[in-house]
């Protein structure tokens, strides 16, 4: 990859990061922010981001081309998966999308620029001077999303990528640099193993705000090491599932619903928190849950032809193979279990299980279908993951959708979206149900 050495993550692997390099990088970020970012208006930032996003949607855009050419080797996703993921993400970054976000999060599009009218008096929002993001990197877009929010907040940002995951964040940063070098001067990216304490201590001491995604233990460890004054925004491990109401499966009309379910399984090969581990399908519809599973298998087989899953590690492949063996044995033991899968590969697997208890998938296009009588049964069956469910992809008729969404919300689900859009959250998505941009800023209230 021929990218100039602009960011620490661009340096060759033999270059060693030291605490003093990071200290200097953080100070440079603050200086650059003061000069080049703090002085920008929201509309200027929105314009730059929207233009860069529009470029990313163009096939001939050099950074997109690089992402699709080298991404399969460098991030482990096949081209079609990457292309769909990039389209879904950058397609959201429009002036309209930003305005909706600013209205939702800050009550107006210019409240970061000047005192704006709020319900009671006026308010001016400010972002942190320096945000440090500690990203998990199992899929690349959350890091990009964080960068976009930070830029809107006019924050300098340091992204600490997990090992082997900086490729797309780097390409995005380089694309910003090409469009607006001074803006990109307020960003830094580095890749080093989590737990490299000497380096992390520098970042944690310099940051005004630290965001992190990861296991609960990782988050707890980071939070314990931050100064009291430092804002911490942590996003722990979450799981998601789909819910198909019987009225979404009319006789002869299940094809659209199945295609959407397959979209959710295929997106990022289920590697993100928003991807479904299973689909709860209501009994009593024109298409029985078991039949839904069989048809989903057929749909996944078609997807494999059009957008193959691609290679996985031998370890991942072994886990899928052993899971299939396990369910074959279950079938032989006369449990209410059935199995459909790709032949001669581990490319896709659908397991139907009569037992509705929530079951975590081994991912990479391996999904469960479980029958339930109603949403109450599904939520009882998912009790083990209550409080950890991010998204439910819902397929339901207009009249039942509201009741189902309400039941899911009361139980604790933080996002309900149409089936087929689970891995395509809008820019206004509230991660873990919390304000996104809103959680980054600090307000000055001016009471008149």
């Amino acid at each position: 990859m021929n990218l100039p050495d602009c960011f620490l993550a661009d340096l060759p692997p033999e270059a060693t990061l030291t605490p003093s390099i990071l200290t200097e990088a953080c100070r440079a970020l603050r200086r650059n922010r003061e000069q080049h970012l703090a002085v920008r208006s929201t509309s200027q930032i929105v314009r730059v981001l929207s233009e860069v996003a529009r470029d990313w949607l163009r096939e001939e855009f050099q950074f997109r081309r690089l992402a699709l050419e080298q991404g399969p080797a460098l991030c482990g996703f096949p081209q079609a998966t990457l292309a769909a993921g990039l389209d879904a993400f950058f397609g959201q970054l429009t002036p309209e999308g930003f305005h909706a976000l600013l209205e939702q999060e800050l009550g107006g599009t210019s409240n970061l620029d000047a005192f704006g009218g709020l319900a009671h008096g006026r308010g001016l929002a400010r972002g942190p001077e320096l945000i440090v993001h500690v990203t998990a990197g199992n899929i690349p877009v959350p890091a990009l999303h964080s960068l976009v929010l930070g830029l809107l907040a006019r924050s300098a940002q340091f992204v600490k990528c997990a090992q082997g995951t900086s490729f797309l964040p780097r390409l995005f940063a380089h694309s910003l640099r090409e469009a607006d070098p001074r803006l990109a001067g307020c960003l830094e990216l580095a890749e080093f193993p989590g737990g490299t304490r000497a380096l992390e201590e520098v970042l944690f001491a310099e940051a005004d705000c630290v965001t992190a995604t990861g296991r609960d233990e990782t988050l707890a460890d980071i939070r314990d090491r931050l100064p009291v004054k430092t804002r911490f925004i942590g996003h722990g491990h979450r799981v998601s599932f789909g819910y198909v109401s019987r009225d979404a499966l009319p006789a002869g009309g299940a094809a659209a619903c199945l295609a959407r379910a397959a979209d959710d399984v295929v997106a990022w090969n289920q590697q993100g928190c928003l991807s479904p581990h299973l689909f709860y399908v209501e009994t009593g519809g024109a298409v029985a849950p078991e039949q839904f599973a069989a048809l989903l298998g057929e749909e996944l087989e078609r997807r494999e032809g059009a957008a193959p899953r691609g290679e996985v590690t031998v370890h991942e492949s072994a886990v899928i193979s052993l899971k299939r063996d396990f369910y074959r044995v279950r079938m032989a033991a006369a449990c209410a279990t059935r199995l459909w899968h790709s032949e001669g590969s581990t490319a896709w697997t659908v397991v139907f299980e009569g037992d509705p208890r929530f079951q975590a998938s081994c991912l990479n296009r391996f999904v469960y279908v479980k029958p339930v009588a109603d949403v109450a049964e599904a939520l009882r069956a998912a009790d083990a993951v209550r409080g950890q469910v991010s998204t439910v992809g819902l397929a339901a008729g207009g009249t039942t959708a509201r009741d189902l969404a309400t039941a899911l919300a009361v139980w604790g689900v933080t996002r309900v979206c149409p089936l087929g859009r689970m891995q395509r959250p809008p820019l206004t998505w509230r991660h873990d149900g919390r304000p996104s941009l809103g959680d980054l800023v600090t307000w000055t209230d001016w009471e008149i």
């Binding site: 199992n138 737990g195 979450r238 072994a318 193979s321 032989a332």
Partner: protein, 376 residues
């Protein structure tokens, strides 16, 4: 499912015994001959045993959904493998309940349902013949004037369902010239721990006698022994020619120690030469075991099964055998499994190395990646 199976009278004891015996006898004879690598005879015995098991092991037959008749399988490599996990869910045996004189359970946490590998008199005889014929030459149990065996497991009466304990007891009974002791006890939860005082006293005495000993145990029991020695600030110097057989994983019962480090620590703390420490790979679902060295000889540390148990390393993606140096899941075809299923799909990842393999460990132990597992 097949005409043959449906026509079988529901196994009277005599009939079952008489039908198992010819296979058990032929395989015992094969083992006794110490064949170098008789592929043709192995193939013949394996296919005959497969046909027998297909007909008499109904649970296994339900796993062979793609077969109408055992005759469709033409080579031992194509015998359908039962997943090791199937021993937890199904009764994978040709033995009617009355003939099941022993059952081996997998180790593991008590919360999990254990594997159940049933044995009868004939299958135990083959099991014992198989293990003795392969452990003998690897541990060189009749060489160097070996006088004592020390087993770091509980005795058979405390662990009646452990295949490892059964193996050690078989070794004890076959070497009556050696004094032998079991130094394991059960803790409050039924887990294995050591009668440390008794063990240390026995080893100290053996060291003073100057006659070589063999110490057998699981990796976690050896870690417990090493920790105890470290706490006492003690080192032992077992007599020259002493050996160690180390097997199994940790299963959360002690801290995990990488194998080379464990061997180094054992060598330092017990005074046993590194080339006299042998690793065994075995499982309750298999009648045969693999060893990675011959005691006293410099070794490449490649695990090898005996000629009557063939290891295949297969790609989990395609099911095809991997090429030399490739990684895949270990699949076994073990003639010593006469009364259950000879072809077993293990959950262990291995690298194919010549006529053996290098073990990488349990594949299922890995977590699914999920959202956040790569942060660290």
């Amino acid at each position: 499912m097949t005409a043959v199976a449906e026509n079988q009278p529901s196994g009277s004891k005599n009939r079952m015994t008489s039908s198992l015996r010819p296979h058990a006898d032929a395989i015992a004879a094969f083992i006794a001959r110490r064949p170098a690598a008789d592929d043709a005879l192995f193939d013949k015995l394996a296919l005959a045993l497969f046909a027998f098991q297909f007909e008499h092991n109904p649970a296994y037959r339900t796993l062979c959904t793609h077969l109408d008749s055992p005759a469709q399988v033409r080579h031992w490599r194509d015998i359908p493998a039962a997943p090791a996990a199937a021993f937890k869910e199904l009764e994978l045996t040709v033995l009617p309940p009355a003939d099941r004189t022993a059952v081996f359970h997998s180790s593991g946490t008590t919360r999990q349902r254990p594997s159940r590998h049933f044995h009868g008199a004939e299958s135990l005889a083959v099991y014992e013949a198989s293990l003795l014929a392969w452990v003998g030459p690897h541990l060189r149990l009749r060489a160097d004037g070996l006088r004592q065996f020390h087993f770091l497991t509980p005795p058979p009466d405390l662990a009646p369902h452990s295949s490892l304990v059964r193996m050690l007891e078989t070794i004890r009974r076959a070497h009556t010239g050696c004094a032998a002791g079991f130094h394991g006890v059960l803790d409050a939860e039924g887990g294995w721990s050591l009668d440390m005082a008794g063990l240390l006293a026995a080893l100290t005495e053996a060291a003073a006698l100057g006659q070589p000993v063999a110490v057998f145990g699981t990796a976690f029991n050896f870690v417990h022994l090493l920790d105890a020695l470290a706490e006492l600030g003690q080192r032992m110097r077992l007599p020259a020619g002493s050996r160690i057989l180390e097997t199994g994983g940790y299963k959360g019962r002690s801290r995990s120690v990488a194998r080379p480090e464990l061997h180094r620590a054992l060598s330092q703390s017990l005074g046993v030469a590194p080339e006299c420490i042998v690793t065994e790979y075995g499982m309750s679902e298999l009648g045969s075991q693999a060893y990675d060295a011959v005691a006293g000889q410099a070794a490449t540390r490649i695990l090898r099964f005996p000629p009557w148990a063939r290891a295949l390393v297969v790609s989990p993606e395609t099911g095809a055998e991997v090429s030399e140096g490739g990684t895949g899941l270990l699949r076994m075809v073990d003639l010593a499994n006469v009364a259950s299923v000879l072809a077993i799909q293990t959950e262990d990842l291995a690298v194919r190395r010549g006529d053996g393999f290098e073990l990488l460990g349990r594949a299922a132990a890995s977590e699914s990646r999920g959202c956040s597992l790569r942060t660290a």
